[in-house]
């Protein structure tokens, strides 16, 4: 984890300074640039392990940078830094391949936690190909399409099962509404987020022990959902 190379992209010099100091202080190797073009050039040259990307860049715009980084086959996790007014752009960036986001002003602890989580996911073994997923009290038998919670079998409708499987396979990762809709209902429904939450509520009702404190399916307001395994 430490020694990982992080590329910071932000046009504010104070933010670059603070991030560089703090991340370096935690053992990361930091490169900081101020524009989108510089970011693309630097990324393709040095292949960082993680990118912190401000959305409000002067030349290209964070969304564009995100898209082009992925086009350049840069698979490193991208964490978006955005201000409150950039909601729509932020969600689109997440749809286009960014992994997570933070809203300015953010706390350093939160930033570090997200960086660590993203690096862990990137370095972790792929979950696909496993026949049995076990996350906390949850057991998902992919071969038989059976789910057990705290030992007891749970009956899920086909759509609920598909949702659970997709979320569990991407545990810890931020899943946008569009990604979930695309995966479970197909590309033609990716904008039909109207009803998604009700389906998720149904799933939660069946999985969660204490609906007041969801452990598995967490809401990212305005963005999507995250399947978290309890620490």
């Amino acid at each position: 984890m430490s020694g990982a190379r992080i590329l910071v992209v932000d046009d504010e010099p104070e933010i670059r300074r603070a991030l560089r100091a703090n991340l370096a202080g935690h053992g990361f190797e930091v490169t900081a640039v101020a524009t989108g073009e510089e970011a693309l050039a630097e990324a393709s040259r040095t292949r960082p392990d993680l990118v912190l990307l401000d959305l409000g860049l002067p030349d290209l715009g964070g969304l564009e940078v995100c898209v082009r980084l992925r086009e350049d086959q840069i698979e490193a996790p991208i964490i978006i830094l955005s201000v409150q007014e950039e909601e729509e752009q932020k969600v689109r960036a997440l749809d286009e391949g960014a992994d997570d986001y933070l809203t300015k002003p953010f706390g350093m602890n939160e930033l570090l936690a997200r960086i660590r989580a993203a690096l862990r996911r990137a370095g972790g073994s792929s979950r696909s190909g496993q026949a049995l997923l076990t996350i906390g009290d949850l057991e998902v038998n992919l071969e038989r399409r059976q789910v057990r919670v705290r030992g007891a079998p749970v009956h899920l409708t086909p759509k609920e099962y598909d949702m659970l499987r997709y979320l569990a396979a991407n545990a810890g990762k931020l899943i946008t509404h569009r990604m979930l809709l695309r995966a479970v209902w197909g590309a033609e429904y990716e904008d039909a987020r109207q009803y998604l939450h009700v389906f998720v509520a149904q799933l939660r009702r069946k999985l969660e022990e204490d609906p007041a404190h969801p452990r598995y399916v967490l809401t990212e307001p305005g963005v999507g959902y995250r399947f978290e395994s309890p620490a």
Binding site: L196, H197, V198
Partner: protein, 525 residues
């Protein structure tokens, strides 16, 4: 119309005279009265009473001729042999003329009295309409009243627009389009109000073009034109007294139009004044609310930068934490200000998606557990409710605001309750606390901007929270209100209207549940 008018009278006269002639013929055989000519007075006076002097005279002459022709020697001729008979007939004619004149005058007086009564009724109705109804409705009613009372073919009222041009507002009867157009000269000519100008216009009726008299009465206030009254006269033309009546109505219309203009101007002025007031309040409040945390930050930072003091670790951490807190406070203030300006500017676009409200309430309550740490939270939620279409972030902020207020304004260990239930056509969420409540005199103002509850220690708000919350709820078509609570605390309730979703999904079913939890367990996450 005009043909009927004359036809009725001519036939009436002939019929009247004819009937009396028959009567005389019959009576001559029965009685030995030499001269029955005065019987014609029956017909003559009837004509006078019904139709006026000229028809009566015409019937007198006709009667004279008829009697002469039929009953005076030599019969079947118009000559009279006997001078005595001639004299009798002439006397008859004179008497007929005089009495019919008297009868006709009586009739005229009666007519006039009736017209005066009609006019009075009309003016009363016009005055009442203009005083009690919104202008457009009143104008329509006035036009209809005029049309009825004066038997007009059509009536239209035009108002002067901002550029001075006249725009038709109301039109009743016929003719329509041709009626309301007029050449410019006619409009620019300034006729006197009591002498409506007249102009012949072509009217297409039943496929034939006819001439019709069209009158225009200008509506003026202090010589300034505010509109125009257009009339298409009835077949008989406008009666002379109509001019006076129209003048009075025109004055009332002009006054009403002017009143409307002044009312509108007064509203605008009031709006500007309020906006100015608001701007002043905003500036002073924002200035204070922005500067206070900045001052605190400056103080902490300044202290840290001082070289001549040796701060302990604890001191340093204290300063840093203070800066962190004040930054959060500033952030919240900026967010509220932006939301408020979006709400005011009408730029709020809620992104509404279907959610299960009970679940949302639970999520937010869980997230706010640290704030509610000292207050036992009771969730009183109904679960088998239909989903509602809401913007998650907005409703999140509303509920957060209400819960923060509840925590802030009540003593520790008092209970905070969140209830959710279905009301008619909506779902209602209430946040109820057991604090001192809102004093009645403040109740009307708490949703205004920059209102703060008086004297309470702890983090002060910007005074915008409830105003923003109300704006968000109203953007969903709902309402946020303070309701009186039996326990005496404050009860803030917002409702979100239910819509019918399409049949694509089923509503999850469940049972009612009542949960009580002590949030102190939720501090670690």
């Amino acid at each position: 119309m005009e043909l009927t008018f004359w036809l009725v009278r001519v036939l009436g006269i002939i019929a009247g005279v004819g009937a009396v002639t028959v009567l005389i013929a019959v009576l001559r055989g029965l009685l030995t009265v030499p001269n029955l000519a005065p019987l014609y007075l029956l017909a003559v006076i009837q004509c006078a009473v019904s139709w006026g002097w000229w028809p009566a005279l015409a019937s007198a002459v006709l009667a004279f001729l008829a009697y002469n022709f039929l009953f005076v020697d030599p019969i079947y001729t118009f000559t009279i042999h006997d001078p005595q008979s001639a004299l009798e007939l002439l006397v008859f004619l004179a008497v007929a003329a005089v009495t019919s004149n008297l009868a006709a005058r009586e009739r005229a007086r009666r007519e006039e009295a009736r017209e005066r009564a009609e006019e009075a009724t009309l003016l009363y109705a016009v005055g009442r309409a203009l005083a009690s109804r919104p202008l457009e409705e009143a104008l329509a009613e006035v036009a209809e009243l005029l049309r009825e009372t004066l038997h007009l073919r059509g009536c239209a009222i035009l108002l002067a627009g901002p550029g001075g041009q006249l725009e038709p507002k109301v039109s009743v009867g016929e003719p329509d389009g041709q009626f309301t157009e007029a050449p410019a000269e006619w409009l620019l000519a300034r006729p006197r109000v009591d002498q409506p100008t007249r102009r012949w216009i072509a009217v297409r009726r039943h496929g034939r073009q006819r001439q019709s008299a069209s009158h225009q009465v200008p509506l003026r206030v202090d010589e300034r034109p505010v509109g125009s009254l257009r009339l298409a006269a009835p077949p008989g033309g406008l009666r002379p007294q109509a001019a006076r009546l129209l003048a009075t109505v025109a004055e009332q219309l002009a006054a009403a139009i002017e009143r409307e203009r002044l009312r509108h101007a007064a509203n605008q002025a009031e709006l500007l004044r309020r906006t100015d007031d608001l701007r002043a309040a905003l500036l002073s409040s924002v200035s204070h609310d922005l500067r206070t945390p900045l001052a605190a930050i400056k103080a902490s930072v300044g202290s840290l930068l001082q070289r001549d003091v040796d701060w302990s670790e604890a001191d340093r951490e204290g300063f840093a934490e203070a800066i962190d807190r004040e930054v959060d406070r500033l952030d919240r203030l900026v967010r509220n200000l932006l939301d408020m300006s979006r709400i005011e500017g009408g730029a709020l676009r809620p992104r509404r998606e279907w959610y299960d409200l009970a679940e949302l309430v639970r999520e937010i309550a869980a997230r706010l557990a640290p704030i509610l740490a000292e207050h036992p939270l009771q969730l009183d939620l109904v679960d088998d409710l239909p989903p509602v279409r809401i913007d998650y972030l907005m409703i999140d902020q509303v509920l957060t605001n209400l819960l923060e207020n509840a925590a802030k304004h009540t003593q520790p260990s008092t209970r905070v309750q969140v209830s959710l239930k279905r009301t008619e056509g909506a779902l209602e969420v209430c946040v109820i606390d057991e604090g001192p409540g809102v004093p009645p005199e403040a109740a009307g103002r708490i949703f205004d901007k920059f209102q703060r509850a008086s004297g309470k220690g702890g983090p002060a708000g910007s005074g915008l929270g409830l105003a923003v919350s109300r704006g968000f709820v109203e953007a969903h078509g709902g309402r946020l209100e303070l309701k009186s609570s039996e326990a005496g605390g404050a009860s803030f309730c917002f409702s979100l209207p239910l819509e019918v979703p399409s049949s694509e999904f089923q509503v999850p079913s469940g049972e009612r549940e009542l949960e009580t939890q002590n949030s102190q367990l939720g501090t670690s996450k």
